[in-house]
């Protein structure tokens, strides 16, 4: 397999952008990534877009920057949809299918449960009707991945005495790793991962009640 590198990145500020369309958020990020790497957009040979709720949004985004005529694939894998898009892009390049691939991760979380974004309303009405009758999956209506993680964390705390502070320190450790990246001069990836928080290196365990 060939080695693969991330050569450019762009990000739209995280936030609750109820008034924006997916393409309004995706277009600036993709343009920034293309500008970052300094290529002609026509050199991009394929696009994978990780999104759970955004059906068809990759086409909208690419249409808005006139990047048409390439294979476009939507990748859906819940919270890791964006990571999955990166993996697909990596596979394309590593296996020699394409040389330059665009990976997008984009989502708009709505004001309801994960089920609204992730699952249930994305399915057909007939599937929803069947789902309601198929009782055990009614749990979709009350639980989502954050809930599963919460249950695992609570059990870990009960069984091993793990504290809120210890769980919070995971964030701090991540922050230390980022600082190491900084010391090696790898800043692009950090800015990619943690946008708009320039003082993140100062993160410490804060208030938990």
């Amino acid at each position: 397999m060939r080695k693969v590198a991330v050569v450019g990145a762009g990000v739209f500020p995280f936030g609750r952008h109820d008034d924006l369309l997916y393409m309004n958020m995706g277009r600036p990020a993709v343009l920034e990534a293309i500008q970052d790497v300094g290529i002609d957009k026509k050199q991009i040979e394929a696009c994978y877009c990780g999104t759970t709720g955004g059906v068809g949004v990759a086409h909208d985004i690419l249409n808005e920057i006139d990047l048409l005529g390439i294979p476009v694939t939507r990748v859906e894998n819940a919270c890791v949809s964006g990571s999955n898009a990166i993996r697909q892009a990596w596979m394309d390049i590593a296996l020699g299918v394409n040389d330059i691939v665009l990976a997008i991760g984009i989502e708009k979380m709505k004001d309801n449960s994960m089920a609204t974004v992730a699952g249930a309303t994305g399915r057909t009405q007939l599937e929803m009707k069947a789902l309601r009758n198929f009782k055990i999956f009614s749990s979709l209506g009350i639980m989502g991945p954050p809930g599963y993680f919460a249950l695992a964390a609570q059990r870990h705390m009960a069984e091993f005495g793990t504290t809120n502070e210890q769980l919070a320190k995971v964030v701090v450790v991540v922050n230390v790793i980022e600082s190491l990246f900084h010391s090696f001069g790898v800043t692009d990836l950090i800015e990619l991962a943690i946008p708009d928080t320039p003082n993140r290196k100062d993160v410490t365990v804060a208030v938990f009640t």
């Binding site: 309801n112 449960s113 089920a115 609204t116 249930a120 309601r132 009782k135 055990i136 009614s138 749990s139 979709l140 209506g141 009350i142 639980m143 809930g147 919460a150 249950l151 695992a152 609570q154 059990r155 009960a158």
Partner: protein, 118 residues
């Protein structure tokens, strides 16, 4: 198939490989055999974990905040099965205890856990 039979969970046991799971299906998801029978779990179990949700449930007629969790039910031999469900709405959160004993309450939509002891 009903979720419950006489206050117990209506699980399924495979006569070929012995796999037990909930809820009842007319096949075994482990070995794909169709030689399966009802296997009742509960009514008592142990609450392994719970969390409190502050978002509106998509289904059900109760308002947030509400608690849901996962309970462990003993099956034959050393087997046990973990099943998710909601804590009976109206239960004070301070009364919910991890490792506490719960009892199944029948409901049209959910598996409901009622706290019955520490």
């Amino acid at each position: 198939m009903s979720l419950f039979i006489e206050g117990k969970l209506n699980a399924v046991k495979c006569n070929d490989c012995g796999h037990i799971r909930f809820p009842f299906m007319d096949y075994c998801n482990k070995c794909q055999s169709t030689k399966v029978d009802s296997y009742l779990l509960g009514p008592k179990g142990k609450l392994m974990s719970y969390t409190i949700s502050y978002i509106r449930p998509m289904l059900g007629n109760f308002k947030p905040p509400y608690a849901y969790g996962v309970s462990r039910f003993l099956a034959e031999g050393d087997k046990s099965i973990d099943i998710m469900g909601i804590i009976q709405p109206g239960t004070p959160f301070e009364d919910i205890k991890i490792d506490g004993t719960i009892e199944i309450v029948e409901d049209k939509v959910f598996v409901v856990f009622k706290m019955v002891g520490d």
